[in-house]
Symmetry: C2
Subunit: 207 residues, 2 copies
Amino acid sequence: MAQDDQLPDLTPTAWAILGFLSLKAQSGYEILRAAKRSMEAFWGISNGQLYPQLHHLAEQGLIRPAGEAEGPRSRQRWEITDLGRSALRAWLESLSSPVQIRDENLVKLFFAGGGSPDLVGRLLEERKKIFSQFEKVIDAVLPGDRLPEAEQAASLGAPELLFRYGKHFTKSTMRWIDQEESRMLAALRKADEDDKDKEDEDDEERS
Amino acid sequence: MAQDDQLPDLTPTAWAILGFLSLKAQSGYEILRAAKRSMEAFWGISNGQLYPQLHHLAEQGLIRPAGEAEGPRSRQRWEITDLGRSALRAWLESLSSPVQIRDENLVKLFFAGGGSPDLVGRLLEERKKIFSQFEKVIDAVLPGDRLPEAEQAASLGAPELLFRYGKHFTKSTMRWIDQEESRMLAALRKADEDDKDKEDEDDEERS
DNA sequence: CGCCTAATATGTCTGGCAGATACGTACGTG
DNA sequence: CACGTACGTATCTGCCAGACATATTAGGCG
């Protein structure tokens, strides 16, 4: 990618928030819901980050309040400024931070080597559950290709791309789990045969 | 997975540290290197976390100093206690936290929809670079299947499993990128044809 | 109509965590 | 012997998620 046109020093989360405001003026809560729906799987936004970052973006002049706390509840809508829009464009061209993964299940698999094959099997089962859950999150992204078309129009093209990546990713992981399970079964079968070779015959029926 | 046998409330990072000490008694620095070599891609351990967590684990009685700050430099070796070993076993059976991903490149792809197809193309190129880098990290895990055999013996089985997952994961992502690039090319070709249909003929050579 | 619950909406607080920085020791090489 | 590099422990700053704290309001129900 290209270089920083002295783009403001924001956190990726702040850029994402700015991105959502570039689609349409909206409140923090709406951003939260949109982020949860569309990109929770690859970049979570928590309210603990959202509200401080909104004020920070406003301080930088990248967004501004749209109307004074209108609406029924005390909700505050925000809109992106021209400055914000050009900063966002510059960010899109800048280098991305490396992908980070935190996968406790894999850590366990790493240390399960010394334990029983049973344990590894249970961990692979858990992994299957984790990723079928993950897939549900992905599927919720386009809950039938029919969002309220106002929002639909605003964010076309790329969301489908993310959706396809999510599907690709989960399917691929599921495939890997199956492979590892077969590999384990094969190893166990082989160990069994070796046992039989050694014992030659001993008992032929058990439980 | 099973339930918590009232296992101590530690962070996954602390459990990972305990895991490394279950393989062999070693110093913080050695853990750091081992973690970097073997599981950096899926669970990073930073020195900012390591040293406080070591002392925390010692307070809980899960590890203890092995000898008094021996060695040439002021390095302190640690060893796991019986309590630590049984806690570790319980952790391996406990539920894992969901997989977390932080992928700024994907966030950009999400918002690049409104921009030019060029931008999307550049982001996919960047993604390719990110994952070929990622693959290098993975390949460094087993730098030729010949580690100093003392360490080798201690952690057999599972590291290879992680290695295979890493390879599977990167290859799968690369494949997705290629698919998206072809998809884009196809869409552009189609748009070109549509243009030609509309203009029918206009100019046939341009810069 | 009044009660309750759930969704809306904005915020704060705590603690996990990475990366930078600091400090100091030992080793190899020119 | 000077310098750079690897070893080794530790702290500080800021990002971040998740829990918690408050209001407000819409809708269901008796």
